[in-house]
């Protein structure tokens, strides 16, 4: 939460470098166009697509990683909530109810992750791996392994509509990120999460309900995944149980790590994760614009991520900035 400047600095620097490259390589990159009462352009696409998946997932993933855990199930939970929302709408349920049902189920499954980890004592990577497999299966079960198209203008509007000229998902994520950041700063929840990740045993002996903290962050991560899944389904007016969220958990982990939150837990930075997600999305679109075949795109993507992670590495960082190291004397 104490987002030290250098944490957000590296992903933002990488982002700036990438934008500079685009300014030189593709002239239309920064072009914005006002049409039918809304903005169009590559920058808008980056924000829109970045908001829909990586940023949303990264919000939940940041808190999970801050407790020293990881959530591999978010991609599958996206598929589950998308499937629930689509089938509910097709069954004639009001949109609000359909969306709420999707979010509720994803949150509940996140809660199950938390219970398995905090109460049954499973390793986070195992518990959420099980949920990753089971969640995908559940999505298949709900849809009969078929793509579920729907025709519902309200639900489609969530991902495709615009407010004040900007895509709706951008507002959804900004509001959720704002509320989350505000709530963590104005309650002690942020401190409890960081304390749990830094030294769970000591935190428990200081009176923190570390089990409750862990359950809460996995439930929150499930909620974020659920919201992201609804938006993905809304985007193409169909829930595709096999493809929604596929391998997107890795994007979320990348965004969080690039944003400077260590996988070992402890200090976290929501702003850093959001910046990391933006970086990831910009990179994806840049490669697309440069006509890099989608099958090859992961390679340059991986290289940029590696570069940002190396910049965060304390060992390399010490060479650049001679930051004081802990002096155990």
């Amino acid at each position: 939460m104490n987002s030290s400047r250098s944490t957000v600095l590296w992903p933002l620097l990488a982002l700036a470098a990438l934008l500079a490259f685009n300014a030189a390589a593709s002239p239309g990159f920064f072009q914005l166009e006002w049409k039918d009462g809304r903005l169009f352009g590559t920058l808008v696409d980056i924000f829109n697509q970045g908001a829909r998946v990586p940023m949303l997932l990264a919000l939940g993933m940041t808190l999970v990683i801050a407790t020293g855990g990881v959530d591999l199930s978010v991609g599958s939970l996206m598929a589950v909530s998308g499937a629930v929302a689509a089938t509910q709408v097709n069954a004639g349920a009001p949109v609000a109810q359909a969306v709420a049902a999707g979010l509720l189920l994803a949150t509940a499954l996140g809660l199950v992750n938390g219970l398995l980890i905090a109460r049954a004592g499973l390793q986070p990577i195992i518990a959420t791996l099980v949920m990753m497999v089971a969640g995908r299966g559940l999505a298949m079960l709900l849809t009969g392994s078929q793509m579920v198209p729907f025709q519902n203008r309200s639900l489609t509007w969530l991902a495709n509509g615009s407010l004040a000229g900007l895509p709706v998902p951008v507002f959804i994520v900004l509001i959720l990120a704002g509320i989350t950041g505000w709530a963590l700063r104005h309650s002690a929840a942020g401190l409890f999460i960081e304390a749990t990740g830094d030294n769970e045993q000591a935190s428990r002996l200081a009176g923190i309900r570390t089990g409750g903290v862990r359950i809460a962050v996995y439930a929150f991560s499930g909620f974020c995944a659920g919201l992201s899944g609804v938006l993905e389904a809304s985007n193409i007016s169909a829930a595709d149980p096999a493809r929604i969220g596929d391998t997107r958990e890795l994007d979320a982990i990348f965004a969080v790590v690039a944003g400077g939150t260590a996988l070992t837990g402890g200090r976290f930075s929501l702003a850093g994760s959001v910046a990391g997600a933006l970086l990831l999305q910009t990179l994806t679109l840049t490669l697309y614009n440069q006509n890099v075949p989608p099958a090859v795109a992961p390679v340059p993507k991986a290289l940029v991520i590696l570069a940002v992670c190396l910049l965060h590495s304390p060992r390399l960082g010490a060479r650049f900035s001679r930051r004081p190291q802990p002096a155990a004397a």
Binding site: D198, N199, R204, A328, A329
Partner: protein
């Protein structure tokens, strides 16, 4: 006299902080040389420079006249400098022989010559007067044997300089004596030994010379016989020792009862125990290592809850089934294991201090930032915590200052009973005295303290009532004038 190890003007900086400001140190062959200093004086840093963990930013080092500049621990070992750390850092699942020879196993082509390895391991242990099954895993032996194994490893490396960094902190009295015998034997064989310990008795029992560091500089080197204890302590802290030279700060017995423990026991662990804790007094828990001191503390704080008996306060039984419940009952517990159960290393001093208070208020009633700052600043000043500021990560502080932060954490919740398990372990003499004075102040303010310490002198100095434990049972409760070293030791030793 030949200088085996010669350090001149060693400088080491961490960022803007200078940990060593030109330290010089000489070690002769065939001497035991104690290195003394408060926490933060630069002992550990000096050792780490010497063993290649850190690289010096200035100054020179030489072993037997040959200049060295170790870039890593391996360099230092091949220059003949070996270190045995406080926490034995060997591999518990490997055998003694493998631990002793790790990285230097005798080979024939690509194959390890196991028989030759075992012979060499046995020979190294024999030099220490120890016979043991070298094929058994290290972890199956007591800590003392593990420590000997670490020393045997140094011998097998043909070490000429042996650094013992607080080797006695987890040994009992008999094992310490055995270690000293080994140290004296190695000294007579011409080895130079650097000895670090917080126990003054041990320093004087084996050391030939003593070098004192303070604030990253060398204060001086003395023959041990020519340096009185009081002089040693005042050199270390740079002033007259408070509390040590003065009268004891014990309160008189006879206050009101704050808490009564009735037949409290945990099946298979400790008890039954029955004693009273008076308001504004310190009750001591004394006994040998393994007598159930820490187990009692953990039982009272609800970490390993009691299975029978009761704890009464004001005529009502307290629920102590979890740490949170114990906190709600007004208990606080400072663990002996600062690293694993105390500090949150990457969080700030402020956050570490406010943690328990915040936890007892719950997540929704956050202590406002201004209040947190005020709290941290108040305790930093009151407890004389040496930190660059309230927002420095606590992991960067020295052990004694970390301990004071943990005391502050629990003082902030104003408990009625403060359980202190080895509050002065691994803490230098100056901080020890400060912590004892602090306890006295808390008692005057009406707080009750359960004081656990392996150092009986400390128990005698601080407590107006002592519960003596023996074999996880209550052996006796001593009161007021009955509390002397003699009576406690007699009770502990009684058959």
């Amino acid at each position: 006299m030949s200088e085996l190890l010669q350090l001149d003007g060693i400088v080491k900086c961490f960022g803007a902080f200078t940990a060593l400001k030109g330290v010089s140190f000489q070690l002769r062959a065939g001497e035991i040389h104690a290195l003394m200093g408060e926490n933060g004086a630069g002992k550990s840093t000096l050792i780490k420079v010497l063993t290649g963990v850190h690289q010096a930013d200035g100054g020179t080092m030489a072993v037997a006249g040959r200049s060295i500049r170790p870039a890593n621990p391996r360099d230092a070992e091949s220059a003949g400098i070996s270190t045995v750390y406080q926490e034995v850092n060997l591999l518990p699942n490997l055998s003694l022989a493998e631990n002793i020879l790790m990285g230097r196993q005798p080979m024939r082509g690509p194959f390890i010559r196991h028989a030759e390895g075992k012979r060499r391991a046995r020979a190294a242990l024999a030099r220490l007067g120890l016979e043991a099954d070298v094929t058994a895993p290290l972890g199956s032996f007591p800590v003392a044997v593990q420590q000997m194994t670490a020393i045997a490893r140094a011998l097998d490396q043909q070490a000429r300089v042996l650094i013992l960094d607080e080797p006695t902190s987890s040994l009992d009295a008999k094992e310490v004596e055995e270690l000293f015998t080994v140290m004296r034997r190695l000294r007579s064989e011409g080895m130079g030994i650097v000895f670090i310990s917080h126990f003054l008795d041990q320093i004087y029992a084996v050391s030939d010379r003593i070098t004192i560091l303070r604030d990253g500089s060398g204060v001086g080197t003395w023959e041990a016989a020519a340096l009185s204890r009081l002089a040693l302590v005042s050199h270390m802290i740079g002033k007259e020792a408070p509390g040590l030279a003065g009268p004891t700060v014990r309160a008189e017995a006879g206050g009101t009862e704050a808490i009564r423990v009735e037949f409290l026991a945990r099946r298979g662990t400790v008890g039954p125990l029955s004693f009273s804790v008076m308001a504004g007094e310190a009750t001591g828990l004394a006994g040998l290592l393994g007598s159930g001191r820490t187990e009692t503390a953990r039982m009272l704080f609800g970490i390993d809850p009691a299975t029978s008996g009761a704890v009464m306060a004001g005529g009502k039984a307290l629920a102590l089934h979890s740490p949170r419940a114990a906190m709600a009952a007004g208990f606080a517990f400072c663990s002996e294991d600062r690293k694993a159960e105390g500090i949150l290393p990457s969080l700030s001093v402020r956050e570490n201090i406010v943690l328990a208070l915040q936890a007892s208020r719950g997540a929704l009633r956050r202590v406002p930032r201004a209040g947190q700052d005020a709290l941290a600043v108040r305790f930093i000043k009151a407890l004389n915590i040496r930190t660059r500021g309230p927002d420095t990560p606590i992991g960067m502080l020295s052990g004694g200052n970390q301990q004071k932060c943990l005391l502050a954490r629990w003082m902030a919740v104003q408990p009625r009973l403060l359980i202190l398990d080895e509050p002065t372990r691994g803490v230098d003499v100056g901080a020890k005295a400060e912590i004892e004075l602090l306890c006295a102040e808390l008692r005057r303010a009406g707080m009750s303290i359960l004081f656990i310490s392996a150092e009986l002198e400390e128990v005698v100095r601080n407590c107006s009532r002592v519960v003596v434990l023996r074999d996880r049972q209550q052996a006796a409760v001593l009161d007021g004038p009955a509390i002397t070293l003699q009576t406690i030791m007699e009770t502990v030793a009684a058959a």
